[in-house]
């Protein structure tokens, strides 16, 4: 399995990109040439182009863009891991229960999940984030509320198709409790699509989070959030062309990493859908790329 993964150059590239992101996030204080620039102003050095002063130039406060990007990796990574983690923790149990049992309660659960899917994810996230007020915690909350139905729907469909398998029936016949069957028999058999979905979901979540930051709904300044950095750079175009370049590329490479990894994992874990009908819906304005 590992060998097949190593041979898939695209998936390897994805893993490398994510590895770099994690390294940047963990070692930001040591890697950054000017770690103090995250909080301090250096107005004499403001809006310098890339050069000796800084790899990616400096921003409107004189902060080193490269240093701020590194610290931004911490925000992006922690935010998306917590948001996707909670979405999985809500969505998977809901999908399992709704898929395992039949009846009005299952229908109700799934219809409730479907309501969240009935508006574009980005709009729902903007609405929730705006309601709660601009902060990292609220962005995480908004993203979890927005994205949990994707896992619920996936797990529901997978559980329903497993429900009538002989090994599930025999486990039930042997007197296993529903909880035991769900956790020990169903869940391990649907882990692959959940893992693939989670990798691609990370990409979609990061795009949406960046969009929220761009609209000013993320962490307040001077937090080095990538989306917010791009928004700040807008009024300095076309002169400070480097200002938006680095954060944009950081978002791009991160999302690309998770998407490539997801594609590669699908090939390995789920041979039925080999790089096929899975990913889609990327048409949305800014991060619709997450639905099936």
């Amino acid at each position: 399995m590992l060998r097949r993964f190593a041979r898939d150059r695209a998936a390897m590239l994805g893993a490398v990109l994510i590895g770099l992101l994690v390294l940047a996030a963990v070692f930001a204080p040591w890697l950054a040439p000017h770690p103090e620039d995250v909080w301090q102003f250096h107005t004499p050095r403001r809006l310098l182009p890339p050069g000796p002063g800084g790899l990616f130039g400096t921003d409107r406060m004189g902060g080193d863009v490269f240093s701020r990007i590194l610290f931004g990796a911490r925000i992006t990574l922690s935010l998306s891991v917590i948001a996707v983690g909670s979405a999985v923790l809500i969505g998977v149990p809901v999908g399992l229960v709704a898929g395992y049992f039949r009846g009005w309660f299952s229908d109700l659960l799934m219809r409730f999940a479907e309501i969240f899917l009935a508006v574009p994810q980005i709009v729902l996230a903007i609405a929730i984030a705006q309601t709660l007020g601009p902060s990292i915690q609220n962005v995480i909350l908004a993203l979890s509320i927005t994205y949990w139905p994707f896992w619920a729907r996936l797990v529901y469909a997978e559980t329903r198709s497993l429900r009538n398998e002989v090994f599930i029936e025999s486990a039930v016949a042997l007197g296993a409790s529903p909880l035991r069957v769900m956790v020990l028999h169903v869940l391990p058999n649907i882990a692959s699509p959940i893992i693939v979905r989670t990798s691609i979901g990370m990409g979609a979540t990061i795009l949406t989070a960046a969009t929220l930051g761009f609209l000013g709904l993320g962490a307040p300044p001077p937090t080095p959030e990538w989306g917010r950095m791009i928004a700040e750079s807008r009024e300095y175009l076309p002169d400070a062309w480097w200002y938006a370049l680095a954060p944009g590329m950081a978002i791009f490479l991160t999302v690309l990493g998770f998407n490539l990894l997801g594609d590669g994992l699908r090939d390995i874990l789920d041979p039925r859908t080999r790089r096929s009908a899975g990913q889609g819906g990327g048409g949305g304005g800014g991060g619709g790329g997450g639905d099936e």
Binding site: A118, V123, T211, L215, L237
Partner: protein, 334 residues
Amino acid sequence: MVWLNIVLNRLVWLVPTLLGLLAIVFVLSRVVPIDPARLAAGDNASPEQVAAVRHSLGFDRPLPEQFLRYVAAVARGDFGTSLFTQQPIADDLAARLPATLELTLVAIVLAAAIGIPLGVVCGLRRNSWLDHVLRVVTVSGLAVASFWFAMQLQFLFSMKLAWLPLSGQIEGFPPEHVTGLMIVDALLTGDTEALRSAVRHIVLPAITLALPAAATVVRFTRNGVIGVISSPSVAYQTAMGYPRRLIVWKYVLRMAVTATVTQLGLIFGILLAGAVVVETVFDWPGIGAYAVRSILQSDYNAIMGFTLWAGAIFVAVNLLVDLLQAAIDPRGAR
């Protein structure tokens, strides 16, 4: 009968879905710490005036009652008035629909015109250099933040090269109103100046929206073609000595593109209701930019109106996709 079942099944759930959607947005919009009555009354209003406005707008009633009143009004076709434009929401949305529709149509046509041929070539020449290059391009196209891509396009083509306008839908006088779609109206009335301006304005936002859409279309078309090509029917036709060209044009394409058409339908729905960020960046006077502005200004009635619009589009598009798939593959219909 199958078709009727699908339609009925969707319609039965239409009302509960929209009601649930409204309830969620309603609760969300009323737990905000901002006082809507104060917003509506203006900055200089005295406490008595604010209280009067609160009473006249019904914000002093209990939440469930407010919600029921709202739903009852919607059922009568009254979506309320925007706190900011002071116009009925339905009028606001209707006034912005043509701009969104025009942008969406151009983006979809672009995505299909670029994506389908490329996808077919990739599917027919699997693992060729073009296939590999396009795989990289499509995966990248789905990973770019649209607002950033939009800004880079603006930087290059508007600010540096000065080839295209930075934002907006048209410069100077708009063409005479016929359909509301600027390009169509300009064509119909023979207004070449307006046509030129409208086309120049739509290029950048349309490209921004078309990039991820085209990437999706390429992927689906490619996989569709590969699926059909490796099917027994094509093996049979090849064995019977049919010319490859005939097989490709007559059988493979028609069968392969069905999944793509479904996908285009879904993208159409997503863009009609969700091109919010791109419209905002390009200052496009459509429904998406209106939605973002309403949310940022806590314009409740406008937010609810947009939510209803997005939900209705979602249900309609899904119904359409279900029907399409039932037509293409009757086995799948339940």
